[in-house]
């Protein structure tokens, strides 16, 4: 249970105060966060007319829009670019879009616990497009029961996804450095990876021409994923506290500090001018830590590299094989949506229907349903290799405790990254960094509790 009746009364009073202060603006009506799990309503029928979607620019192309409108003649799409201020303003004004695009991993506990997201169980139950047995386990990230992500009712659906701690390497760079190429099917250990990174790094006159290791981004997701291979966890049960000081987690921090010190990669103390893709294409990095979606991107942007690039299983720090997703971007319907029925028809089409089919065929991410897995590209040596590795990896997908009702990942990472940079610059020990991180992230979560009226 994340809410109690005290919250309701207090927030109602607050809302009343707000109304009194700004009489006439009906949109300020205070209402309370819904009880855990949210009210299970009934599936609403699609209203003929508009479905408004807030999505990242470029996400829904003009062609996709036309295709959807052709197959759903009673619906028209109206697009709004993702913008946090606009999203909040629209929610505050009581006229939110019918659909939001977000990372399911990050937002599910946060939005569901605030009563903002519609419980989609009745919609899934009546759907003729999406069969329960066809839904891949990745969609569990959209489940929330009031205490645990991955359990309870569905609040959204993933459009496409990847296992984001997997990695890609340039096999030519390995042979040039006189190294034996790793076995892409067998997870490499992070220590081996760092050793190889040292040998793969090339520099001249203080300028690094090739980094041997992908960009180090010590954020909540990768720390949690690495800790999981050690059998540890950062975000504690209840999702209101973190603890970085267990040996399983401290080992992760130590690896990051060592790797940063080794200076064989971009890192918070040596920031990259761009993300890893362009750096890899330009030969400035020997590998990248990105999921399966990079397959499609590489084919489109730097097709020459298909001959030497290989996809590999997620590295491990400990001995437990865990390979989570950090995003699982998809769609959810706000409770105040004007056309939830129409919105769900878009989810069906885009995440599981004809719209999803086209994207699966391009190899830009994994589909959300099982029956589209065979559509993934498998026609060249490159796509064949990456698909084989990906298929084996599916067994190790797991919903990790990456998100909290009390803070979005962006809030936690906003303290993690600078604290890490400070510790790396000062040469602090992993233990000291662990304590600093625990204090800082717990403060963020404590603020989040206050925001929920706790």
């Amino acid at each position: 249970m994340t809410q109690d009746s005290g919250v309701t009364r207090r927030t109602l009073l607050t809302g009343a105060a707000g109304l009194a202060a700004f009489a006439g603006v009906a949109t300020l009506a205070g209402c309370s966060p819904t009880a855990a799990g949210g009210a299970v309503g009934t599936a609403k029928k699609a209203k003929a007319g508009t479905v408004t979607i807030m999505a990242s620019p470029g996400e829904i192309t003009a062609k996709q829009q036309a295709d959807f409108e052709a197959s759903h003649p009673h619906l028209k799409l109206s697009l709004i670019n993702t913008d946090p201020t606009r999203a909040n303003a629209m929610l505050a004004a009581g006229n939110p879009p019918d659909l939001f695009e977000n990372s399911g991993i990050d937002v599910t506990p946060y939005y569901a616990s605030r009563g903002i997201a519609t419980n989609l169980d009745p919609y899934f139950a009546q759907s003729t497009v999406i069969k329960e047995s066809d839904i891949l386990p990745i969609n569990d990230v959209w489940k929330w029961d009031g205490a645990t992500q991955g359990k309870g009712s569905r609040y959204g659906m993933t459009k496409d996804w990847s296992q984001d701690s997997m990695w890609w390497y340039d096999s030519q760079a390995w042979s040039e450095a006189g190294l034996t190429e790793p076995d892409p099917n067998k997870p490499i250990s992070y220590d081996e990876l760092l050793d190889a990174g040292r040998k793969l790094t090339k520099s001249s006159g203080g300028t690094t021409t090739q980094y041997g290791l992908f960009t180090l981004l010590p954020a909540m997701d990768i720390i949690e994923a690495m800790a999981a291979t050690n059998g540890g966890r950062v975000l504690q049960p209840g999702l209101a506290k973190v603890d970085f000081s267990s040996p399983e987690v401290t080992a992760v921090l130590k690896w990051f500090l060592d790797a940063t010190k080794a200076n064989v990669s971009y890192s918070p103390t040596n920031p990259s001018p761009d993300w890893d893709g362009p750096q890899y294409f330009a030969g400035k990095q020997a590998n990248v830590q990105l999921g399966y979606w990079f397959n499609g991107f590489l084919q489109q942007t730097a097709p020459k590299l298909q001959t030497t690039t290989k996809f590999a299983a997620a590295p491990m720090l400990g001995s437990k094989r865990v390979s989570p997703s950090f995003g699982a971007v998809g769609y959810w319907i706000p409770t105040k949506a004007a056309n939830p029925g129409g919105a769900f028809e878009f989810i069906e089409w885009y995440c599981a229907g004809a719209g999803a089919k086209v994207r699966a065929e391009s190899g830009s991410g994994l589909p959300s349903i099982k029956s589209y897995l065979p559509l993934l590209p498998n026609n060249t040596k490159f796509t064949e290799q990456s698909l084989a590795v990906q298929k084996a990896e599916l067994d190790f997908q797991q919903v990790l405790p990456l998100a909290s009702p009390y803070a979005l990942a962006s809030a936690m990472n906003a303290v993690v990254t600078p604290a890490f940079a400070a510790a790396a610059t000062a040469g602090d020990s992993a233990g000291k960094l662990a304590d600093a991180l625990t204090t800082a992230v717990n403060a963020v979560l404590a603020n989040g509790k206050v925001q929920l009226g706790k």
Binding site: M90, D274, A282
Partner: protein, 300 residues
């Protein structure tokens, strides 16, 4: 009436007066003067300020696969980036919307700010000092804090997705522009009104027939500044317009992503170059108003 006409008439031929003196003076010539030192310094400053644009231009002609490379120039110039930049987003539609909003807003705000600025500079009324403090206060409040409530306000009146907010903002005038006009009008000689008053012209007539013509350089400046601010504004269109009727600034900032949400910097660079052209052209035109002594000679 007669005084007004006199003032008007006197403003036209007068600029010639100092020039007469110049041409008649034996050691002064009416042609571009030589300023070798100033010229050299301006050249150095201009080159320094321009180099970043060269970097942008190079980026705009680089193929995607070479973006991260350690080299001055791409091995293979990709001119196709320019048409791609036009095709990736509805470039000309957005440009037309930007132009419309910027022209409407700038025209309105240039005029209404002049009116208000004149009031603050040359008229008296109870509470004027306090209201001026409020005006300065409005300049100070950061936009970030008023975004959501402004949305709530416009949403109440169904103005989201329309261009009415720009009309309203324009009509209300911009605090910084009002302040600028106030400072400008306060430096005009006192006699201007006296002459008009003796003639019995009302305040508004005095303003329109004497002050407006004399403030052409300033009005042009105010227009260029507000045009540039609206043309380049990303925040308000994001908040108040939708993806299909937004401005070029938003189109540029958000449209050059691929389906993965990953930025295509080469297209952004190419698109940005053309994006700044309208303001450059406007600025070139505006310069014709910066004629030495335009205002002072008109006042005499």
């Amino acid at each position: 009436m007669s005084v007004l006409e006199k003032t008007d008439r006197s403003s036209a031929p007068k600029p010639a007066a100092p020039m007469d003196k110049v041409t008649s003076s034996p050691n002064r010539k009416n042609r571009p003067e030589r300023h070798p030192v100033k010229f050299t310094l301006l050249l150095v400053v201009s080159i320094a300020l321009f180099l970043p644009f060269v970097a942008l231009a190079i980026k705009g002609l680089t193929p995607a696969s070479e973006l991260g490379a350690n080299s001055w120039f791409p091995t293979d110039w990709r001119w196709q980036n320019i048409p791609d930049a036009f095709n990736q987003i509805p470039y000309f539609k957005f440009a037309a919307i930007s132009t419309f909003i910027a022209v409407v807003y700038s025209l309105l705000t240039t005029l209404s700010s002049a009116l208000v600025g004149y009031g603050f500079a040359r008229l008296k009324g109870p509470g004027k000092r306090a209201l001026f403090a409020v005006l300065i206060g409005m300049m100070i409040v950061p936009q970030i804090v008023t975004l959501i409530p402004t949305y709530l306000l416009f949403s109440q009146f169904g103005l989201i997705g329309t261009y009415w907010p720009w009309v309203l903002w324009g009509t209300a005038g911009a605090p910084y522009a009002i302040f600028l006009y106030r400072q400008f009008y306060a430096s005009f000689p006192k006699e201007l009104e006296e002459a008009a008053r003796l003639d019995g012209a009302g305040r508004l007539r005095t303003f329109i027939s004497i002050f407006v013509p004399l403030s052409r350089p300033l009005m042009v400046t105010a227009f260029v500044i507000s045009f540039n601010a609206t043309w380049g504004d990303y925040v308000a269109p994001t908040l108040f317009l939708n993806a299909d009727n937004t401005t070029l600034a938003v189109g540029i900032a958000t449209g050059y992503d691929n389906a993965h949400g990953i930025l295509l910097p080469q297209l952004l660079a190419a698109g940005s170059f053309i994006y700044i052209l309208p303001v450059v052209i406007l600025f070139l035109f505006a310069q014709r108003s910066y004629v030495r002594g335009f205002v002072s000679s008109g006042i005499k």
